[in-house]
Amino acid sequence: MVVTFPHLGNTYIACKIMFDSLGIDYVIPPLSNKEALRIGAFHSPDEICLPFKIMIGNYIQSIEKGADTVIIVGSCGPCRLGEYCELQMSVLKNLGYQVKFIVVDYPGEIGIKELASRIGYISNQSHKKKIEKLRALYRAVKAIRLMDYIEQSARMIAGYEINRGECKRLLLQCRDRVFNESDPSKALKILKSYKAKLSKIPIDKKRKPLKIAIVGEIYTNIESFANHFIEDTLMDYGIATYKSLSPSWWLKYTGLKVLKLHAVRARLAAKQYLKYEVGAYAKETVGEAVLAYERGYDGIIHLLPVGCMPEIVSKSILTSIAKEKDIPIMTLLFDEMTGEAGYLTRIEAFIDLLERRRRDHVLSWR
């Protein structure tokens, strides 16, 4: 068995550490790229949302490198993500690929037994002792939390750094180095060392950089390729960005959901606009937008794939939030046709707007 999985932000780093520890063969798909998207879009129905297409591209590029088993997480609606696996299997089968899918679904849907058997199937491929398997899992969770922390901090500190570009360089370097380390405990050490390095980056605390919060559909938020690396772009402009969604956020969310303690703050903040569950993470989108306003952010960028169902609901609500709270919100929609040029112009225009608002504010305040 050679496993693979679709990309989602930094998860591949944690997966690598886990499979290395377990001694399971794996293929990490080439980082999401234009070719993957082209392949994916070609073999997927036109109107399916972007994540589906990139994922198909990931699978096919992995299969070509020898993978024969796909691991993905599921959900039970109401959004499309829950049906992804069904159609992805069908698409790959029609293309003549012989791959097995292991869908890690919520136990509430498939039953604890079935879930245990699906996870057991993966775990049985490893000849390690039970305690080592647990350690593998522990390491993976630790790694993703460290990596997400490093990324989140770097993106925020970028607004304050004295040497332009230092945060970004550090972040890229860190990713590169852990990824090329096949000894899991060394990989963790690397992550820790970068966490330390990050805290030593010289910053100018008196600077008041523009602060932007990024919210929206989870995949386009986390998988940077899908959003044309928007955060990197913002970093280049010296903007401090904050985004709550990340793989470790998702882990925590999914774990706490059982206790109904998931994303408490965002969900509370969403309440005045949206009391009920819509699907996927629309409620969190609304909540995060309100929080960003309360925390004094200059603007919000809302990301979603074209045709995304739950985020259309949040988009309607965000329009009101922008008006009522007087905070600029820009919506960016993505599909395989999204071009580079128009997209950059929009971001620049948005930044201009935020800067202008700041200046006007200062003036009127005096």
């Binding site: 069908s90 949206l274 309607s316």
Partner: protein, 312 residues
């Protein structure tokens, strides 16, 4: 107190119930007109661009009556079947309406779970309290409404036509004859009878659905998939027409699953949006019926056209 009933989305399915319910309670109500150009334009004007046509049309219906009533029913129908859903957009319908259309009167916002009598009643009681009606009055009206509702027969099953097709799609795509340009009549005029999933036994649908890896959690998709694959496999109809709208996330998955399953069976996908023209549809339907005829004449080996209609 005047209650407004927008004639969009699942209204046709529950029209009999809700009107009887309001009559028994002696509440005045108005129903928006059948979908027409003005309603469509209103919907396009107010709704977010990226939404699907049925949601836009619903916006139009609401906007067309909002100034003439005190309370609009904007049903947040989360589910009509246990452990299943309709669509995320249904779950957020009241929010979309409130935030997209200015100066709205009061609307209903509580979620509706129609598979459970208890939950349905709880919703109605809450609704009744907005109308100053007590629980007993609501219960009585519910029983009367349900009687009538249960007696109605939904769907079509045309007999005595040369050819017969299964017409599938979300109920509102089939019910709204302005939106679908009365496709049923067009087909009938071409000598094609129409049947809907209502006339396929649940048992038969379920057999096909059970072959899926995962239990589908969208009710309409389950009916659609089950009836298409069952009738297609057993060749009990000459063809299938799938009425869909652009930007429907659910159809984007299930149309493909059905295609992959039925391979060469004559499946015509008709996707509609606000720019769809009638002439294009006519041509497509004529070509499609011609193809069905040819196929019949040449035996079932004749390859069906796999061309699909996206924009007309």
């Amino acid at each position: 107190m005047i209650v407004g009933l927008p004639k969009g989305l699942l209204f046709h399915q529950y029209e009999k119930f809700i009107t009887e319910f309001l009559k028994v309670l002696q509440i005045d109500y108005i129903i928006s007109k059948d979908t027409n150009k003005d309603i469509l334009n209103l919907g396009v004007k107010y709704c977010v661009d990226e939404a699907c046509l049925p949601i836009k049309i619903f916006h139009g219906h609401v906007a067309s009556i909002k100034d003439r009533c005190d309370l609009v029913i904007v049903p947040r129908i989360v589910s009509v079947h246990e452990k299943e859903f309709i669509c995320p957009k249904f779950n957020g319908l009241p929010e979309m309406i409130l935030h997209n259309i200015p100066n709205m009167p009061a609307i209903t916002t509580k979620p509706l779970y129609l598979y459970s009598e208890k939950k349905t009643l709880a919703w109605l009681e809450d609704f009744g309290s907005m109308l100053n009606k007590n629980k007993n009055q609501v219960r009585e009206a519910y029983i009367r409404g349900k009687e009538i509702y249960d007696r109605q027969k939904l769907g079509y099953n045309d007999k005595r036509y040369r050819r017969r097709v299964l017409l599938v799609g979300h109920p509102y795509n089939i019910d709204d004859i302005y939106m679908n340009m009365n496709i049923k009549k067009k087909l009938n005029d071409l000598g094609v009878g129409v049947m809907t999933h209502h006339y396929v036994r649940d048992k038969d649908k379920q057999k096909e659905v059970d072959k899926l890896y995962k239990r589908p959690f969208w009710t309409f998709a389950r009916h659609t998939y089950g009836s298409c694959v069952y009738l297609g496999r057993t060749q009990q109809v000459d063809g299938i027409i799938y009425l869909s709208s652009f930007n429907c996330g659910i159809d984007s998955i299930f149309i493909q699953l059905i295609k992959n399953e039925l391979k060469d069976f004559p499946l015509l996908v008709v996707k509609i949006d606000e720019h769809t023209g009638e002439a294009g549809l006519n041509t497509r339907l004529e070509a499609y019926t011609d193809m069905l005829e040819r196929k019949k004449k040449n035996g079932s080996n004749f390859p069906a056209s796999r061309e699909h209609l996206y924009s007309m």
